[in-house]
């Protein structure tokens, strides 16, 4: 196992910067998720760690070794591909042990190792089959087994679960989490599924347009999104965002918008600076921090748009006068009866504020 370090890494394809000046450190034994929408540069970053792409500029280290220009085979890495990349003409045992074969292990050792790893992944009974003769979930495990058969410093995953159906994906996700936890392998995992990133990662790097927007623990990313992009990308349903006007009054900050009662917040230095430059800021509230209320302060008002029952919770969506929608996640076993006009209340300690450029304004308790 080893740490990974990105130092000012840029990767351009012609005029297009897939990754722009990315720098980050991954500690030994960490499980890092690179999260973002398609085209954000997450897969390119992973492929640069693997050596399948060479950075245009910057250096990449695995452990203490500069691997920037090294061939993949000299990096001591393993990788699981999105399409699994299983060889259709080899049986499962041969597929799993291929990394041992190319490194000149003899046939008996290869068979033994393949059996061992396959048993751990519960595909030990399939070794004689061809990839076409096993299910998608088993194929996924086979590609995982091939990555695990040869001890590596770093394990790379390129959206390994995206070809599985929803139920299998949950199962595989749990299995992967268990595996990583018990083996403590340094892993980098690319996904566009925020739930996967939240569930698996020790830290998540959220990427947008080739840049790392936030690199933090899942909880921090969820609770304190660094930008409106992160707020909007992480969480299902995502954070409610509302453009508001801010003003400083009586040594406290007040925000208001159409259909929003005044929210008063304790004053903070960063607020005053930001508001002085541009009073048009964004208020963010997570759906689970909203509740139906009869109070007057800290509420958002609108017309009932949808009331969806999800089993454990209900998703209540209102439409505001400016056509923006606000969704609340309400945990209750009771059927809630809502009139046409709904007021959703929140507490001021559960909000996020973003300046005019979409960057987070730190609250007092941060």
């Amino acid at each position: 196992m080893a740490s990974i370090s990105f130092q000012n890494v840029t990767k351009s394809f012609g005029d297009f910067n897939a990754v722009s000046n990315a720098s980050f450190e991954i500690n030994d034994g960490e499980f890092i998720c690179l999260l973002g929408p398609s085209g954000c540069g997450k897969t390119t970053s992973l492929r640069m760690i693997a050596g399948l792409e060479t950075p245009t500029s910057g250096r990449i280290y695995i452990g203490d070794k500069d691997v920037t220009g090294l061939h993949p085979r000299d990096r001591k890495i393993s990788m699981v591909f999105q399409d699994y990349a299983l060889y259709p003409h080899m049986n499962i045992s041969q597929n799993i042990s291929y990394p041992l074969k190319v490194r000149g292990e003899n046939e008996a050792t290869r068979g033994e190792r393949a059996q061992e790893v396959a048993d751990v992944l519960k595909i030990g009974h399939l070794l004689d089959r061809l990839p076409a003769q096993i299910s998608g979930g088993q194929q996924q495990r086979t590609s995982l087994a091939r990555a695990l058969v040869n001890p590596s410093q770093v394990y790379l995953f390129d959206e390994p679960l995206s070809n599985l159906d929803a139920k299998l994906r949950l199962e595989a996700r749990g299995f992967l989490h268990h595996l990583q936890h018990s083996m403590g392998m340094t892993s980098v995992y690319v996904t566009h599924d925020q739930a996967e990133a939240m569930a698996l990662a020790t830290r998540v790097a959220v990427m947008d347009q080739g840049r790392i927007v936030q690199f933090a623990t899942p909880m921090e990313i969820y609770r304190k999104p660094a930008t409106t992009f992160v707020a909007n990308f992480v969480g299902n349903p995502p954070m409610n965002l509302l453009p508001v006007e801010a003003m400083v009054e009586d040594n406290s900050l007040k925000v208001k918008a159409d259909g929003l009662e005044v929210v008063a917040l304790p004053m903070h230095k960063s607020f005053a600076e930001a508001v002085a430059i541009n009073p048009n800021i964004t208020l963010g509230v997570r759906p689970e921090h909203l509740r139906a209320t009869a109070e007057e302060e800290n509420v958002v008002r609108g017309k009932l748009f949808a009331n969806e029952n999800m089993g454990a919770e209900k998703l209540v969506t209102i439409e505001r006068p400016d056509a923006a929608r606000f969704t609340a996640r309400i945990f209750t076993d009771d059927d809630i009866i809502l009139s046409e006009d709904v007021a959703l209340g929140f507490s001021s300690q559960h909000i996020s504020l973003f300046d005019a450029d979409g960057n987070r304004l730190a609250l007092d308790n941060e």
Binding site: A50, G51, L52, H71, P72, R73, I77, S78, M79, F81, Q82, D83, A85, Y87, P88, H89, Y98, P99, K101, V102, R103, R146, N150, L156
Partner: protein, 302 residues
């Protein structure tokens, strides 16, 4: 399931008839005509031109006369020469060169790939008469480009067409036909998912291991198809005639050239037709073998 047809039977017949008439007149009738002629002693001149006699298997017996079978200028010599020609210029030359080129071009920059492919394909699409003459001019003893190059390098000029005529046509046919194999293998390689090779890269495979373990087994079907096609084509190729006219002293007289000489230079139509029939049978064997493999592939794919 009901069969839907684009045309009525009558309209279909109407459209089909011109092609059918042409194919009938120039392929099917000559096919049977050649078989018939091969059993006669028909010639161009003399009394057998007007009144050919039925001679049974005499022409065939003459072809396979073991006393002269392997003599230069006889059927057996040409047959063996053709087999050597196919092995060296098609199977080893074209297929192997095409395979090596296609594999090397997988990992070269785009413009190198484009340039190399164009160069190889030009050799393939130029008219035969043009390249025949070009090669003749290239290899000429007194004024040929090749000898100018060798003398400029301080080497002895060689009379290639006289000293090594067989190797000249082998080299020529390899150069001429490698493009087909290269293109076929190229598209076969391109049809494999890139992740197969990336996974192998990460696993630590060398280029040769990737070729041997992954690429080659997965394009096996394409290789078999290619080998059969170029074998058939090379077996029947007539272009070397433009370079050597089958000579000197029959040393490059491939079967196709041998047939041409017997029928249209010696004017022994009967004997020429018999050779034609034998070649046809050999081609038939190739074709049946090919169809069988193609069928197996089809079954395997289902």
């Amino acid at each position: 399931m009901k069969n839907f047809s684009l045309l009525s039977v009558r309209a279909g017949t109407l459209f089909f008839s011109p092609a059918a008439a042409l194919v009938g007149a120039f392929v099917i009738v000559p096919f049977f005509w050649v078989i018939f002629v091969s059993f006669t002693n028909r010639t161009l001149l003399g009394k057998t031109a007007l009144n050919p006699e039925f001679v049974g298997f005499d022409n065939y017996v003459a072809l396979f006369n073991m006393e002269t079978f392997f003599t230069r200028g006889q059927f057996g010599f040409s047959l063996i020469l053709t087999i050597q020609f196919v092995l060296l210029s098609a199977l080893i030359g074209q297929a192997l060169l095409g395979m090596i080129l296609a594999w090397l071009l997988q990992s070269t920059p785009k413009y190198v790939k484009l340039f190399s492919e164009s160069a190889v394909i030009v050799a393939w699409i130029l008219p035969e008469v043009v390249i025949g003459f070009a090669w003749f001019a290239f290899l000429d003893y007194d004024n040929g480009t090749l000898n100018m190059l060798t003398t400029a390098l301080g080497l002895e000029p060689g009379d290639w067409l006289l000293d090594n005529p067989f190797w000249v046509i082998v080299f020529f046919n390899t150069w001429r036909g490698a493009a087909f194999s290269m293109m076929l293998f190229n598209s076969a390689f391109a049809s494999l998912p890139p992740s197969y090779f990336q996974a192998a890269d990460v696993a630590g495979a060398t280029s040769f291991q990737k070729f041997k373990d992954i690429a080659l087994p997965l394009i096996k079907g394409h290789v078999v198809t290619d080998l059969i096609l170029i074998t058939m084509w090379t077996f029947n190729v007539f272009t070397p005639f433009l370079l050597t006219q089958g000579g000197p002293s029959y040393r490059t007289e491939l079967l196709s050239i041998y047939t041409y000489r017997v029928a249209f230079k010696d004017f022994e139509f009967g004997k020429g037709a018999a050779v034609g029939v034998v070649i046809m049978l050999i081609n038939l064997a190739f074709a049946l073998f090919y169809l069988r493999i193609a069928k197996q592939k089809h079954k395997g794919a289902e």
